[in-house]
Point group: C2
Chain length 761, copies 2
């Protein structure tokens, strides 16, 4: 858009140099005077009663400054909703997975802390454990949480229209079951915390977080302190992907140790601990029944999904509904039923993820391909016939304003020359398409809005004060870009103070794709507020009306008459000389339906805007080894407006790597009786840059009426649709469908073999 | 005042526990990872040309990470006004006093840094030096600054009314000359700085300061950086007394070393360095000619004052006019002339001080006593007849609104039973009175105002964001008290974020007695802004009008109907649930006449309000040893409104200790050819708690219409009037007048001896 100076352009990331040169300071890099090092004692049993914890020998070890157990903490438990609060931060009575926290030690160095852990004696009584959803649902299964009979944590139930009638009227109905095990977020930065209490009893804490205010509230609850005594501070963060949104036992352990020792304490998780004791993605089994008419239009759909939640509720209750919500946004359907069950097992805890529900999302898309195949309709046409359209309502009654679903399908198919390739590729080559849609935030009630302050310095520079956190996705750059654009400043004129609960006002946190939409809008409004004050001052000096002024190139000028101008600095000083400081305030609360229990029975406006993405990939499969080579990818997303195309493209590419290349080819947890056998990079295969195909990014703009400059989230509907496209392309290459994900070489070889058998070869 | 819950009460200081337990972190306590230690190389000569600086050997010393000289810096010079900028932060061509900074070293420890200093070779050409005002003013005196011929730095010239006519019409005229050498601020905390540059080139710096924004601006100038790249951060401060308001060469050296080494650097001054190389108080010689009528009313006054400014301008130009301004505020006079000269010498630099002008202020008051003696009028009556009255204009045309000058005289005289004591005390016992008045801030133009933000947390707690700094006087407590009062909160509900140039908005700094008046007003306005938003929300819920509501006890209630109430938390959450965050913004700019050169020729409104103080002391003098024992003191000040009586009393007591006990009895610098011989506590006699007399504090309230709740500054007009009362009491005790201050035993013995001779004993 030519009307803007900075937004819509590839402005360099504000954190580029710090990160590229290694100078950015992460939590593990923090060093405070007199700081101690903390370590956690974890359960070796998947399910056991704790009969006693004896820390007396550990306390006496020279160099040990504090030992804490759950008895040092309040009784507060964690869960994303009041009614799902089931996790004590340090267990005192029972452990429910291998790795659960029981005690923690702070000592003068890590070795001493580790040695002290060995001196803590815990007496256990082992209990029968459950390692699969099937076992958990057996009538005689052991109960993991007394208040969750049948081990069902949550049951999301949606039933819209008349599903049975829809099936009856369908031309073709299919039912398939898809399965996928747990997987990792594998953030580049293992979890770490530094905590200290000051002499006034205020807690200061640093950690990777998906929103500092989101961490502060549960910490305030645990420590029975008001919010203004808990200060979650800004620090560089190495990735979140949904996995840094919750309070962690590490936060509580670290703060408890700091309080007890009256010294700063640092806990840095090992890679193993990051895998087993921070949130990871759910395993899932989805049975999908879909009826279509002759033209492939969905008439009815019924999905039953079982999610393996591990030992505690976490944010899992939200994760149980999200795959459905994404699906209902992406595709039109009038008669739909969903039963989503989150089930407890004695395995590590599962939470929110950037790429929800491989078994669900990929299943839905693969089944569309299967239905199309039976009807003789190609996948692109199937999707165009079912694509969500602007002005629609979703089955759960969200109004969809801006919507580029169709445009992403058309543009990616054109770019990929779909028509020339579909059905015409050489043997063991395949092409596949996936479509998805995600929200820009969920209903967060009183915590759903963002506020920002902007203050002008006397030299015309500004400071933006915003609660938005940057987990690596470029939020800081986005905020600087918006503030500078709005005020006609250069990026270097803007200093950002962010993600500190004391200094920065309310913000929902950087997850659920909400930062640009909500935090970006707040900063834009704050900038406009300050600008308005400057325009009133400048109008007098320029003998013009405030509404005829624009801010550009560090000047305020009369629209169309650039020679009638005043420097911004001059306008600021004009104000100051009259005793008026120039500052701005802005707040944005998305207009959504906030009901307490929207998760289990969602109805109403879920989010103010939705993004829509299509990914197409072409693959080659080696029939001898089952190896997949991804030849090329096309990622098209409706981002509303591309605030920073370069950053958006990097989000597309990251999404494709995570959802497709890793999520559909190599990533999964191998568990043996609740123990994760592949917790580190050695065994858990993350895609590397050299593994990635050529990616063609296609940015579609629909100018959402509520987004800042029209912008919506960027990248997540690529992560989701990439998983779908990868699975579809492989199935297309081998000429048969696979129902278990990720699609590893063994599964490919097995599918080829079975196909050969079926075809009598 | 019973209508308030918190203001007007002895609320405990928010920093009490941290300071009492030693947990408060001062700059010297800071430790940053990889931090280096800096040391300064200082001139051993009072006046010399620098022919060369060779740092090559120092650079090579193992452990040395950076060596800087003035060649590493920009050419920017310091001085409080553009036209008095004469001090380069590291000299490259000339040194003008013993102790001037030439180079600095950063090394892995202090010993290595000290060793490296010894390896720097500086070649000097000594120049003739000047060590007294008299020598500086001689026609053939060497010139210290080329652009200040005659060595006169500044000449303040005031001539109001018809002074000669006034003298002609006077019944009695006296002329006296008074003299006092330089003295120390002697802050409890020696100067210290920690600086670091981040990878984006932003400077972060911690140091004791009298206003972070006041430090940031000159630092930005030196480093040619915009203000938002210089972040002066909050740190506990151990006293300022006017001496921490300016940028210091230490700030620049530390930042230069940090930039060159790319590591954090800490410089901690020794006590000697704090004395010779930070600002201290001027030496002064004042000739005062006063004419009075038969009743003792001043008809004309002519003062000529020479101030020894040392080597550079510093803030001395302001200090040259302040003693006059205080005097003209305290006492009525229509015909007055003032010639104030600040003169350069080759001695350490002098700046602003909490207790301006011993020789001037005490001289004026002593002369009033002398005139009274000749007229047969006692000192209290003399002062009552000349006291400033509300509604007056000062000679330089400041309107005096609230004024309790007379009340402080009457109340302190009553409390001290003046009438029963005056002239009736035993031999070598004396009683004396002093009166003074100070401003609440000076005209600072665009930097004269303060702004504050307040944000509410969802649990009803707040954060106050203000640029006001606390140097120890209790400003933080004052801000918390005001915010809590205004919003009906408890002190513990308020978190204060202050004195950080990035995070907090504009503030003039905590000097010139401005913080309560300007910063306090800004916070009050911000709180009222937030309260108004809450009242609108609560009014609906309570079915009342916003204007009928009050905030009290964490509730919003209908005035007079406390049962119709709503908790503040509920009101905040009402707002949040409607997408409205509760925050407030307030700004206060004092209405003063800001002219660029008000210092040299002040006319117009100098300050928005003035405080007025009277001190009375009773002393006993040992005629054998000359030792003075102060028996009791009465300190009465018009503080407008006593926001926190306990803190105000501690300011009175600190003022009396500094201005009277130290300033008039023991404190002065002994210099030998420009070298300070008594820089440390061993030789420089500060009063101890055990030296102090019983102090009777008398708080007078006049409810200034512009002050927050009517408040004005507290304590400084006690510091000034205490010096006056001490000198008057001693002179009364020995029955003769002393013209040189401080009044040490040797001067007392000499005066007694001379009196005996005169009286022919």
């Amino acid at each position: 858009m030519t009307q803007y100076s900075l937004v819509g352009k590839d402005m360099k990331r504000v954190d580029a140099i710090a990160k590229a040169t290694g100078q950015a300071l992460f939590t593990a890099d923090l060093a405070l005077p007199r700081m101690l090092y903390g370590k956690a004692l974890r359960s070796p049993y998947p399910h056991a009663r704790i009969l006693g914890i004896d820390t007396s020998r550990a306390v006496k070890l020279p160099g040990v400054k504090a030992v804490v157990t759950g008895h040092d903490s309040s009784d507060e438990k964690w869960g994303v909703f009041r009614y799902t609060q089931d996790q004590r931060f340090l267990s005192i009575d029972k452990v429910r997975y291998i790795g659960e926290e029981i005690a923690a030690v702070a000592a003068v160095d890590e070795d001493t802390a580790s040695e002290a852990l060995g001196l803590i004696k815990v007496e256990y009584e082992e209990l029968p454990a459950i390692f699969s959803v099937d076992d958990a649902l057996k009538p005689d299964a052991p109960i993991i949480h007394e208040n969750y009979q049948g081990n069902i944590n949550i049951h999301v139930k949606i039933d819209v229209g008349d599903v049975e009638k829809g099936f009856k009227e369908s031309y073709l109905v299919r039912e398939d079951t898809f399965d996928a095990p747990e997987e990792s977020y594998f953030q580049a930065e293992p979890y770490a915390v530094v905590a200290q209490f000051d002499n006034a009893g205020n807690l200061e804490i640093w950690m990777p977080n998906g929103g500092p205010h989101l961490k502060a509230k549960p910490l305030a609850n645990v420590f029975k302190m008001p919010l203004n005594k808990v200060r979650v501070r800004k620090i560089t963060i190495g990735g979140a992907f949904g996995g840094r949104s919750e309070i962690s036992p590490a936060d509580v352990m670290c703060a408890l140790l700091a309080r007890k020792s009256q010294r700063p304490v640092k806990i840095v998780y090992t890679r193993e601990e990051n895998t087993i004791a921070t949130r990871q993605a759910h395993g899932m089994k989805a049975t999908i029944r879909t009826g279509v008419d002759r033209e492939g239009r969905v008439q009815a759909r019924d999905v039953t999904c079982y999610m393996d939640g591990g030992a505690y509720s976490s944010t899992g209750p939200i994760a149980t509904s999200v795959p459905f919500l994404c699906m209902e946004q992406a595709y039109r359907m009038e008669n739909v039923r969903y039963n989503g069950y989150r089930v407890f097992t004695n395995k590590p805890i599962r939470g929110m993820y950037r790429c929800h529900g491989r078994a669900f999302a990929c299943g839905v898309d693969l089944q569309i391909d299967m239905l199309g195949e039976e009807l003789g309709i190609d996948p692109v046409t199937m999707r165009l016939r079912n694509a969500r359209q602007p002005g629609d309502y979703t089955p759960t009654k969200s109004y969809v304003g801006s919507c580029g679903m169709t445009e992403t399908i058309v543009k990616s198919a054109e770019a990929a020359r779909w028509k020339e390739r579909w059905g015409k590729l050489p043997p063991f080559h395949g092409i596949g398409i996936g479509c998805n849609s995600v929200q820009t935030g969920f209903p967060m009630g009183i915590r759903g809005g963002s506020e920002a302050f902007i203050k002008f310095n006397e030299d015309g520079g500004i400071t933006v004060i915003s609660g938005v956190v940057d987990n690596g996705q470029g939020n800081e750059t986005m905020l600087v870009q918006i503030a500078a654009e709005e005020l006609g400043l250069k990026p270097e004129d803007v200093q950002l103070i962010s993600a500190d609960t004391e200094v920065t006002p309310s913000d929902p946190g950087s997850y659920s794709m909400v930062s640009t939409f909500v935090g970006g809008n707040a900063v834009r409004l704050a900038a406009q507020d300050a600008k308005q004050k400057l325009f009133v001052l400048a109008a007098k000096a320029l003998e013009a009306k405030p509404e005829d002024l624009i801010a550009k190139d560090r000047k305020i000028m009369v629209k169309g008459e650039p020679e009638r101008s005043l420097s911004l600095t001059r306008a600021v000083r004009l104000g100051l000389s009259k005793g008026q400081s120039i500052s701005g305030q802005g707040a944005y609360w998305p207009k959504v339906d906030s009901r307490r229990e929207w998760v289990e029975n969602p109805v109403g406006q879920l989010s103010e805007a939705f993004s829509f993405g299509t990914t197409i990939v072409e693959v080659g499969v080696d029939p001898e080894t089952g190896q997949v080579k991804v030849l090329e990818a096309w990622a098209a997303q409706d981002v509303g407006y591309a605030l920073n195309p370069k950053i958006i493209e990097s989000q597309f590419e990251g999404g494709l790597a995570m959802g497709g290349q890793g999520g559909m080819l190599t990533e999964y947890h191998i568990l043996d009786r609740g123990r994760v056998l592949n917790p580190t990079q050695l065994e858990y295969k993350l895609p590397l840059a050299c593994d990635m195909p050529k990616i063609n990014n296609i940015i579609v703009e629909t100018f959402d009426p509520n987004g800042p400059y029209g912008a919506k989230e960027a990248g997540m509907s690529i992560a989701m649709s990439a998983a779908q496209a990868y699975s579809a392309a492989i199935c297309n290459a081998i000429g048969t469908y696979i129902h278990e994900f990720p699609i590893t070489p063994d599964k490919i070889l097995k599918a080829i073999e079975e196909k050969s058998k079926r075809e009598g070869k």
